[in-house]
């Protein structure tokens, strides 16, 4: 599904290298997790993959289903099936959540040459999906993320994911700022989307999210590289011993 090879990235504005040769291969239908200490480059990886400005790729490639994505506009990547659940979802005053979602769904359909969703059909689908995530009608009507609590924002991200039905979902610290109940709700939303044709890359500091979203593969990232890869057990090891031991071991 996603093949990242030798990815090197620096900040556009300054000579700071963040990613120093990331290699990652995610098969269709699998869930990978990336853990790592602060400043290891986890979030940068998610931003670079989704096409956010401010970064410069100096080497390497990233292919989604065989298609090179690093030269694409963010909207093209989205239409190709990539989705990033933001660590800090953006508030957009004046744009209704529903309008936003319908515009996004139909823009992607249009880009793929599919027919646009009628408003009746859209309403039917979104109501059902919102209900599963305990998102009420009021939240759908309000401006995007404005006045939403931390938990509401994250649930709204998962709702967008459910509506857009991407192939490759990247979750950037989706557990940050969530209490246990909210985390369960979000994890259930993610698990409901697990599918043979859909892959996940879950970025997190803590193992607890991985109790709810069980990963097939866990990677440890440090100083801009993947330094260790293992099974779900690796996350437990981090939880018990911290990163220091692992980092010392690979150093």
């Amino acid at each position: 599904m996603l093949e990242i090879n030798n990815l090197h990235v620096k900040l556009e504005e300054e000579d700071k290298v963040i990613l120093k040769g990331v290699d990652l291969s995610i098969q269709s239908g699998s869930v990978h997790a990336i853990m790592g200490p602060n400043g290891s480059g986890k979030s940068t990886l998610s931003y670079v993959l989704s096409g956010r400005g401010g970064y410069e790729v100096t080497d390497g490639s990233a292919q989604l289903e065989g298609q090179e994505i690093l030269g694409m506009d963010p909207e093209e990547r989205a239409a190709a099936g990539l989705f990033l659940a933001f660590q800090y979802p953006v508030e957009i005053p004046g744009v209704g959540n529903m309008t936003f979602l319908r515009t996004a769904v139909n823009a992607q359909r249009k880009a793929r040459g599919d027919e646009e969703m009628s408003s009746t059909e859209f309403l039917k689908v979104i109501r059902a999906k919102a209900k599963d995530l305990k998102i009420d009608a009021d939240m759908l009507k309000r401006p995007v993320n404005v006045g939403f609590s931390g938990g509401e924002k994250k649930r709204n991200e998962i709702l967008q994911m459910a509506m857009l039905e991407p192939k490759m979902c990247i979750l950037d610290e989706t557990d940050s700022g969530l209490d246990v109940d909210a985390m369960k709700l979000v994890a259930e939303g993610v698990n409901a989307l697990r599918d043979a044709g859909r892959s996940f890359l879950v970025i997190t500091h803590y193992q607890r999210l991985l109790d709810h979203i069980k990963p097939d593969v866990v990677h440890i990232m440090a100083d801009g590289r993947i330094v260790k890869t293992g099974g779900a057990d690796l996350a437990l090891e981090v939880e018990n011993n911290g990163y220091a031991d692992i980092l010392a071991e690979v150093a």
């Binding site: 909207e75 989205a78 933001f86 508030e91 957009i92 515009t103 996004a104 823009a107 857009l164």
Partner: protein, 430 residues
């Protein structure tokens, strides 16, 4: 007298000397015109040295001939076409009975200024120039006085009940050299209410005054659209007095225009009155738009709200000069003012001068003014969900304008304004 003032008055004399004073229809208008002419000779026409003309050059509005303006060819349905309304059409400033609807409408009396009753106690005509005169203090508005002195056409409207349809003043522009002075007087009687729409490009140079007297418990809703003609120059004045528990709501959409100066002067004279003023404008390139507002609170427990939003690109210029004056004794005043510009590039500029002057001690007044670029974070967020950049930008621009558009009372009209703006944005990308 200073040399500067003397030069200004000499220039004004020279400009007025060439004018032919109109006559009729009644004694009330002759008196008002003569009075306006006398006032104009002592105040002088605006010059760039005036405090309130610092950001907008008045020369082309003052000079004896208009700068010619090409007639704009529209490629879309006329504004408000879907609204069931009474149309009053002016072609280059002259009332066109053929193009207009029958002026009879229950609950309202409409007369053309040029042929109004000669009666010396005309119920509306005797208000001609009155609010314009009181609106000169403390800030002079000489272009409005010039209008009072020489306007020959317009409407006198007396609203006695609540007419079933809005009234739409439609301004057509056919002559590239037209220089138009229109003067409307509207009196909304106690308990009555009316919706007034204005649309159309009007003239090469358009000077318009509207005086609105809103009596106790009356309501006046106003929606105006200016554009899409590019070459027009316009100076408009809206003067209003608000009685007890009256409601006044006015929204203006401005698209394109080399030079537009919209002045609004409101006086809240009755307790518990509500005044909402809003404006949305979009300009690309050779565009200069100036909103100059003066709201005076002279009664207890009144609310005034000003929401002005400007979207500017390719060197377009926006100006906002807005003042709230709370007089001694106008307690429990709730005054709000926001003026914001969205600059879509580094070439455009916005100049704002918000002012508060408060002489009462129990009031809540707030004002804010900002100018900024498109929120890059929001743009990326939308694009990351698959919304193409141009569409995402349009969504954010419309979101920025939403607070002003939300002031429009009628949903269908608000939706039409949004459609027009969406169309404009599509035509002005990149």
């Amino acid at each position: 007298m200073s040399a500067l003032k003397q030069r200004k008055l000499d220039a004004t004399q020279a400009r007025l000397a060439g004018l032919e004073m109109p006559t009729g229809p009644g004694a009330w208008i002759s008196t008002a015109r003569a009075d306006a002419m006398a006032r104009l000779r002592t105040m002088g026409l605006p010059s760039r040295h005036d405090e309130y003309w610092k950001y907008t050059r008045p020369e082309t509005l003052v000079q004896d001939h208009p700068v010619p303006a090409a007639v704009f060819q529209y490629d879309e349905a006329p504004m408000f076409d879907a609204v069931d309304r009474l149309r009053i059409v002016f072609v280059d400033g002259v009332f066109d009975p053929e193009a207009s609807d029958d002026l009879t409408l229950e609950g309202v009396e409409i007369e053309r200024l040029a042929s109004a009753s000669r009666s010396d106690v005309h119920p509306v005509g005797t208000l001609y120039g009155k609010l314009e005169t009181t609106g000169q203090t403390p800030v002079e508005r000489p272009l409005a006085t010039l209008n009072t002195a020489i306007a020959t056409d317009g409407v006198l409207v007396r609203v006695t009940q609540t007419p079933s349809r809005p009234i739409n003043l439609i301004y057509r522009h056919l002559d590239v050299n037209s220089d138009v002075y229109l003067h409307h007087v509207i009196k909304v009687e106690t308990g009555a209410s009316v919706t007034l729409l204005e649309s159309g490009p009007a003239a090469a140079r358009f000077n318009k005054v509207m005086e609105v007297d809103v009596a106790d418990d009356a309501m006046f809703h106003h929606v105006r659209t200016q554009g899409r003609d590019h070459e027009r120059r316009a100076a408009t004045h809206l003067f209003a007095r608000l009685g007890t528990r009256s409601v006044f709501k006015s929204f203006t959409l401005t698209v394109n225009g080399v030079l537009t100066r919209n002045e609004t002067v409101l006086e809240l004279t009755g307790d518990d009155a509500v005044a909402h003023l809003a404006g949305a404008c979009v300009g690309d390139g050779d565009f200069h738009h100036d909103d100059t507002v003066f709201v005076t609170h002279d009664a207890v427990n009144c609310e005034s709200r000003q929401v002005f939003k400007k979207v500017l690109r390719n060197g377009a210029t926006g100006v906002f000069q807005g003042k709230i004056l709370v007089r001694d004794g106008a307690q429990k005043t709730d005054g709000y003012q926001i003026s914001q510009a969205l600059l879509l590039d580094g070439d455009s500029q916005f100049m704002a001068k918000p002012e508060l002057e408060i002489y009462a001690d129990d009031v809540a007044c707030s004002h804010g003014s900002t100018s900024g670029a498109i929120d890059e974070e929001a743009l990326f967020y939308l694009r990351s969900r698959g919304v193409p950049e141009s569409q995402a930008q349009d969504l954010l621009v419309l979101a920025f304008l939403a607070e002003a558009i939300d002031e429009i009372e009628h949903q269908a009209i608000g939706d039409e304004i949004l459609d027009r703006l969406t169309g404009w944005l599509k035509r002005h990308r990149g």
